[in-house]
């Protein structure tokens, strides 16, 4: 059985890109996975055209949750808020690669849930889970 723990995942876990905080972020959200104790926080700074100018994540937890959060920050940089809203769970899973069990999917998708919560709060809708009812 091939391991989910590819060199790429481990590299993002050990050397996370875009980890830190943004004091001037307009979008700020945080959530935890009570099952694992994973914590992910996302901060997005937008320019006047609602394009993601800078993004940082913070958190702690397993390699999958932390690597996926870091990968996600690279994906959203330069995108409009509307494009960020459209990122699907498949997009995130393709970044990670490999097969995940149902329980570990929650680790992989925690950062996306946090990101969407922040984005929906920003654009004024409260139902962040609308698009991902099965997992998020």
């Amino acid at each position: 059985m091939s391991s989910i723990y590819s060199e790429i995942i481990l590299d993002y876990y050990r050397y996370p890109r875009n980890k830190g905080s943004l004091p001037r972020a307009q979008i700020h959200a945080r959530d935890t996975n009570p099952l694992c104790g994973d914590v992910v926080e996302m901060q997005l700074e937008l320019d006047e055209r609602n394009i993601v100018k800078d993004v940082k994540f913070n958190g702690q937890g397993c390699a999958i949750s932390q690597a996926s959060a870091s990968m996600l920050t690279e994906l959203v940089k330069g995108k409009t808020v509307d494009d960020v809203r459209k990122i699907s769970k498949e997009d995130v899973l393709s970044l990670i690669g490999g097969q995940l069990t149902a329980v570990r999917l929650k680790c992989a998708l925690l950062s996306l849930k946090v990101l969407k919560t922040g984005v929906y709060d920003y654009i004024g809708s409260t139902d962040a889970t609308k698009e991902e009812p099965s997992i998020l």
């Binding site: 059985m1 481990l10 937890g61 397993c62 390699a63 680790c107």
Partner: protein, 489 residues
Amino acid sequence: MLRRRWVGASSSTSPKATSHAVAAIASYRKARNRLPGLAVPKSTTPTTKLPLTFPGQLAQSTVRGYATQKQATAYIHGKEPYDVEKVRHDFPILKRIINGKPLAYLDSAATTQKPRDVIDELTRFYNEYNANVHRGVYKISEEATAAYEEARAKIARLINASSPSEIIFVRGTTEAINLVAQSWGRTNIGLGDGIILTEMEHHSNIVPWQLLAKERGAHLKYVGLTDDGHLIHDDFRLHLESGGIKLVTMTHVSNVLGTINPVREYVREAHKQGCPVLVDAAQSVPHIPVDVRDLDCDFLAFSGHKMCGPTGIGVLFAKKTQLEEMPPYHGGGEMIREVHLYESTWKDSPYKFEAGTTNIAGAIGLGKAVDYVSELGLRNIQGHERELTEYAHDRLGKVKGIRIYGPENPGTKAGVISFNLGDVHAHDMATLLDEDGIAVRSGHHCAQPLMERLGVSSTTRASVYLYNNEEEIDRLAESVKRAGRIFKI
């Protein structure tokens, strides 16, 4: 921690059998080492050659009964060593292949696997004598009632309760503790009173007391832990002497560290202050001999599914004197003597606490599980687990970057091994072990205050039971090493 009643019969052949349980284990191991069969190195036993068909006859033809402690003593005195490979044949699930490898089930602290005897008895109940208990006057109802009450009696004998009426069937340890909190607690605990707990409690022995303390205006006091996972006795004494303590509630064996707490001594000290004690025995009754009269605890709670029984059935033991004073926990059918429009009277315990139709099949299945572990003998099980735990400490201790939590001497603890490897998160470790067919637990193990004390967010936990063997520990150690290679520890 002795079961005097059963051991007494064999005391003439070995004075050691009546001494402390630790001494019993020592003599058991010494006896084992003298056996000619054991001169053969363990690694040469055919650990992987499970028969293709399950040898049900083997398990069923042997006598399952209460004179089982005699048999257990026979094991100790060298008639037959503990034959784990024979035990493994009793567990159909151990034949499963996970990710191309045989299942190595090392999560028995969460729930244990079930022997064929228990599974068969559940099927037999539903096929042959399924009926509600205590009410029907027809044949199968009488059979069901007899089996249900027989199970209660078996459990009373297992833990050496004075009478089966001290055994209340509940859903599990959690419900048992909630029953005491809601029934005994709301009667006896008031404003400003104190409850002593320990920092190593499972959430099920914390949250019910938080709810009660909030409602009654009482406060909780925690006994702290040393770095190697033992209770700080002075903490306990200070709390006890501070006055106003109405209850001590503590775990017998830690579900994270495997620490075996000196419950007997704590009970004695608490009783000197007139303070009753509840023991969470979820991790002890299935693994070590437990004698409630020797411990002298007032309440003791455990779950059936952690000792080869079905899920959804557990036990609250309480001293008769306590039960008589306690009001019902749930109201409904079965628990009443007379019901009028505005008031009712209750049956005596245990029925006062068993409202509605209980988990009859579960209780009967648990009775069968008690037969099973009794026949193997709790002291033999403890001895087997201790050897495995020592072996696991030895194998895992050599892995670079590993940290094992809890008592350093594996000879003094139960078969629970919590560890972390470098910066590998416990969930990543568990996923990697699963890839090798090894089932372990990862996370906070429902003991977040303990995790805080240890300064970690989670651990990986391997826990052994009567069916685990050294080969599985070898596989665990190799798989942990593989995780270390992947994460470049």
